[in-house]
C-alpha cells in the first residue's frame, strides 16, 4: 500500500502546484505519463526477451552483439527503424495510411488506462472499465482496416480482412469468458474485480472451476485478438508477406510493432486482473511488495507463456480459425458462463465447486471428444509395401 | 462540460437525422443508404439519452433502456441489411437500387 500512496501523494502535490485551470489536464497528464513511458520501455525489453527466448527454444543465442548480452539491441533496432526511409506507395490513400498506425497505438494505450496497477493506482477509474477496454479493442480493428485498405496492396487488404474477421469472431468468447468474472464480482469496474481477489492466492479467480476454464478461453482469445501465433494469420509471412503492415516502413512500421506489443501487455494485464488476482500478492504477508511489481510479474509470466506458445505452434488456416472460434470457443465460453451462474446461485462453497467443476469438465471432455470424432483430423498409422511382388 | 439546456442536443439530433435522410435520398448505393438509416437511428438515440439526463427523477432509466434496445436492433438491422446487400450484389452484380428492377412492369 505504501508505494501506491506515495505515488498518489506525489501526483496530488504536483497537481496542486499547477494553476487551477490547468489542474484537470495536468492530472490526466500525470496519470498517463507513467503508463506511456513504462510500457514503451517495457515493450522494448519485451522484444529483446522474446527474441532471446525464441532463440533459446530454437537452440540459438538470440541477439547478443549490441551491449552486454545484447541488452542494447532494442535501442539499435529503434535507431534503425527511425533512420529508415518512410515509403508510402504512390497509389496509397496518404491520410489513412498515415493515421492507421497512430490509431492502433492510441487504442492500445487507451486500453491500459483502465487497468488497476495498484490500490487506487488507476488512470481512469470508471464504473464501466472493462467495457471501455473492449471498446478500445474494437477501435483497433478499424485502424487495422485503415492500414490494409489505405496501402492499396492486395496482400495488405487480405491480411486486414483476415485480421478483422478473426478479431470480431474471437471478441465473442473473449467477452463471454470475461463476463463470467463480472457476473461473480457483480461489477464492470476493474478495480472492483481486483479488490474481489485481495485475500490471497485462494481467492484468485483462476482457482475456481469457472475461472480456470475462463482463463484458458480468455488467453486463447487473447492470442487471437492480438494476432499472435498460432493465430497470426493476418500477417502470415508464408502467405501474405506481412499482412496489413506490408506497405509500411520506417517508424510507422515500428509503431505497428509497438502497438502490437502494448496491446499484448494490455491484454495480459487484463488477464492478470480478471483471473490472477491483479496487483495483489499471492500471500497477504507478501503485500509489503508494491502492487505494480506483482502485476508486472504476472504480466511478464503471461508474456513468457505467449512466447513459448509462439515458439512451438504452426499457425491455423483462416477458415479453421473461424471454425475453432464458433465450434469450440463459443460453446465452451457459454458453458463456462452457466458454470459461473451456478457458482453465483449457490453463493460459492463446496457444492458450487463440485457442480460447476463437473459441468465444465463434462462439457470440455465431452465436447472435445465429439469434435475430434466429427473432425477428420486424426493421427494415422501407415502401411508398408509387401516385400515380395513389387508392382508398378 | 454538460450543457444546461436541452436545445443543443435536440438540434444536433435533428441535424444528424436530416443528414441521414439526405443520404438515403441521394445515394445510389444500398450500403451507404443503410449507413444513412443507421445515422438516423443514432440521432434518435441522442434524443433518448438527452431526455433521460434531463429527466428530474434519478430512478428513471427508460431512456437508456430504449437506447440499449435501439442499438441492438440497429446492429441486427445492419447485419441483415448488409447480408441482403451482398446477396443482391451476387444476383445483380450491382449495388445500385435502380438496377434492381426485375419486378418493374
Amino acid at each position: 500500500m505504501w508505494f501506491e500512496e506515495l505515488l498518489i501523494t506525489i501526483k496530488y502535490y504536483l497537481v496542486l502546484q499547477m494553476p487551477g485551470s490547468l489542474q484537470p489536464v495536468g492530472s490526466a497528464f500525470l496519470s498517463s505519463l507513467p503508463i506511456m513511458t513504462s510500457f514503451g520501455g517495457l515493450f522494448a525489453l519485451a522484444t529483446l526477451l522474446e527474441r532471446k527466448m525464441l532463440g533459446r527454444i530454437q537452440n540459438r543465442y538470440g541477439p547478443n552483439r549490441v551491449g552486454p548480452g545484447g541488452l542494447l539491441q532494442p535501442v539499435a533496432d529503434g535507431i534503425k527503424m527511425l533512420t529508415k526511409e518512410d515509403i508510402v506507395p504512390k497509389n496509397a490513400d496518404h491520410l489513412i495510411h498515415f493515421l492507421a498506425p497512430l490509431g492502433l497505438l492510441v487504442s492500445a494505450m487507451l486500453g491500459l488506462s483502465v487497468i488497476p496497477f495498484g490500490h487506487r493506482l488507476i488512470a481512469l477509474d470508471i464504473e464501466t472499465g472493462i467495457l471501455f477496454f473492449f471498446a478500445m479493442g474494437a477501435a483497433s480493428e478499424l485502424a487495422i482496416f485503415m492500414a490494409g485498405w489505405g496501402s492499396r496492396n492486395k496482400y495488405a487488404l487480405l491480411g486486414a480482412l483476415r485480421a478483422i474477421a478473426q478479431m470480431i469472431s474471437y471478441e465473442i468468447p473473449l467477452i463471454l469468458s470475461a463476463l463470467s468474472v463480472l457476473m461473480v464480482v457483480g461489477s464492470l469496474s476493474l478495480s472492483d474485480v481486483a479488490q474481489a481477489q485481495s485475500g490471497g492466492i485462494h481467492t484468485w479467480h483462476i482457482f475456481t472451476p469457472w475461472g480456470f476454464l475462463g482463463c484458458i478461453l480468455f488467453l486463447i482469445s487473447t492470442l487471437a485478438e492480438i494476432n499472435r501465433s498460432p493465430f497470426d494469420i493476418p500477417e502470415a509471412e508464408s502467405e501474405l508477406i506481412a499482412g496489413h503492415m506490408t506497405e509500411y516502413s520506417g517508424f510507422k512500421y515500428a509503431l505497428f510493432f509497438m502497438a502490437e506489443g502494448v496491446a499484448m501487455f494490455a491484454m495480459c494485464a487484463l488477464t492478470a486482473t480478471l483471473f490472477l488476482g491483479g496487483y495483489h500478492a499471492p500471500l497477504p504477508i507478501l503485500s509489503f511488495i508494491p502492487g505494480p511489481v506483482w502485476l508486472f510479474g504476472k504480466l511478464t509470466s503471461l508474456v513468457l507463456l505467449f512466447i513459448w506458445i509462439r515458439g512451438t505452434m504452426p499457425r491455423l488456416r483462416a477458415d479453421q480459425l473461424m471454425e475453432f472460434a464458433w465450434k469450440f470457443m463459443l460453446p465452451m465460453s457459454v458453458v463456462n458462463l452457466i458454470a459461473a451462474g451456478v457458482w453465483v446461485a449457490l453463493d460459492g462453497g463446496v457444492a458450487a465447486w463440485i457442480l460447476s467443476g463437473l459441468l465444465n469438465c463434462v462439457a470440455y471432455f465431452g465436447w472435445s471428444r465429439i469434435l475430434s470424432q466429427a473432425s477428420r483430423f486424426n493421427p494415422r498409422t501407415y502401411r508398408y509395401a509387401e516385400e515380395a511382388g513389387v508392382s508398378k | 462540460m454538460i450543457m444546461d439546456s436541452l436545445t443543443p442536443y435536440l438540434l444536433l439530433s435533428a441535424g444528424l437525422f436530416c443528414t441521414g435522410l439526405m443520404g438515403v435520398l441521394l445515394r445510389r448505393n444500398i450500403i451507404i443508404m443503410l449507413a444513412g438509416v443507421e445515422l438516423m437511428l443514432n440521432a434518435a438515440n441522442i434524443n433518448f439519452v438527452a431526455f433521460w439526463r434531463f429527466h428530474p427523477s434519478s430512478e428513471e432509466v427508460s431512456g437508456l433502456a430504449m437506447v440499449v434496445f435501439a442499438i441492438a436492433i440497429a446492429a441486427a438491422e445492419a447485419a441483415v441489411g448488409l447480408a441482403l446487400a451482398i446477396s443482391i450484389y451476387r444476383h445483380y452484380r450491382s449495388t445500385n437500387p435502380e438496377n434492381m428492377g426485375d419486378l418493374k412492369g
Binding site: - | 443543443p8 435536440l10 438515440n45 441522442i46 437508456l64 448488409l82 446487400a85
Partner: protein, 181 residues
C-alpha cells in the same frame, strides 16, 4: 455554450455530412465512424457511460466494420455513380433535408421541453439500468435477444455462398477417365 460540446457537435455534423456526400465509399464509412465516435462522446458528456462505450463497441467495432466488409465484397471501393451529376436530384434532396431540419428546429424552439432544467448528477445509472432491464423491460429484452439470434442466423444464411467445385481443364484430368492403373 460549452466549448467541448460545440467542438464535438461540429465534428459530428461535419463528418456526417461528409459521410453522406463523399465519392469514395470507404471514405464515407470511415467518416461515419467519426460521426459514431462523436455521438459516443455526446453520450459520455451526458453521463451515460455504459451507452457511450456500447456505442463505440457496437457501431465502430461492428457495424462500420460490417459495412466496410460489405463494400469490399461488392467491389464498391469507388462509387462512380456520382459521375452522373444530377443537379436536380441533388438540389431536391438537399432542399428536403434542409426543410426537414427547419421544421424540426421550429418544433424544438417552440417546444416546452426547452424549459426543462438539468437535475443533479444521476447516481449509479449502471445498476439502475441493469435492474430495470431485468425487471421492467425483461420481456422486450428477451424478444430482442431472440431477434438478434434470428438476425444472426438469417444474415449468415443470406450471405452464404453457393458451393462450387473447381476443376482444371488440362490434359492430365482428361486421361483420368481411362485410368491406366
Amino acid at each position: 455554450m460549452s466549448l467541448f460540446f460545440t467542438i464535438t457537435a461540429l465534428i459530428t455534423m461535419a463528418s456526417a455530412i461528409a459521410a453522406m456526400t463523399l465519392r469514395n465509399l470507404v471514405h464515407c464509412v470511415l467518416c461515419l465512424t467519426v460521426t459514431f465516435a462523436g455521438i459516443a462522446l455526446v453520450f459520455l458528456q451526458l453521463g451515460a457511460e455504459f451507452i457511450g462505450f456500447s456505442q463505440i463497441l457496437v457501431y465502430i467495432g461492428a457495424v462500420s466494420i460490417l459495412m466496410l466488409f460489405a463494400l469490399l465484397m461488392t467491389r464498391g471501393g469507388t462509387e462512380l455513380t456520382l459521375k452522373r451529376w444530377d443537379p436536380v436530384h441533388w438540389i431536391t434532396g438537399t432542399l428536403i433535408g434542409i426543410a426537414g431540419f427547419g421544421v424540426m428546429s421550429f418544433a424544438i424552439f417552440n417546444s416546452s421541453l426547452r424549459q426543462s432544467k438539468i437535475p443533479e448528477a444521476k447516481a449509479d445509472s449502471l445498476h439502475a439500468l441493469g435492474n430495470s432491464l431485468l425487471s421492467q423491460y425483461v420481456l422486450p429484452l428477451e424478444v430482442m435477444a431472440l431477434l438478434l439470434t434470428v438476425a444472426l442466423i438469417g444474415a449468415a444464411l443470406i450471405a452464404l455462398p453457393e458451393k462450387k467445385v473447381f476443376r482444371r481443364n488440362a490434359s492430365f484430368s482428361k486421361n483420368q477417365e481411362s485410368g491406366n492403373k
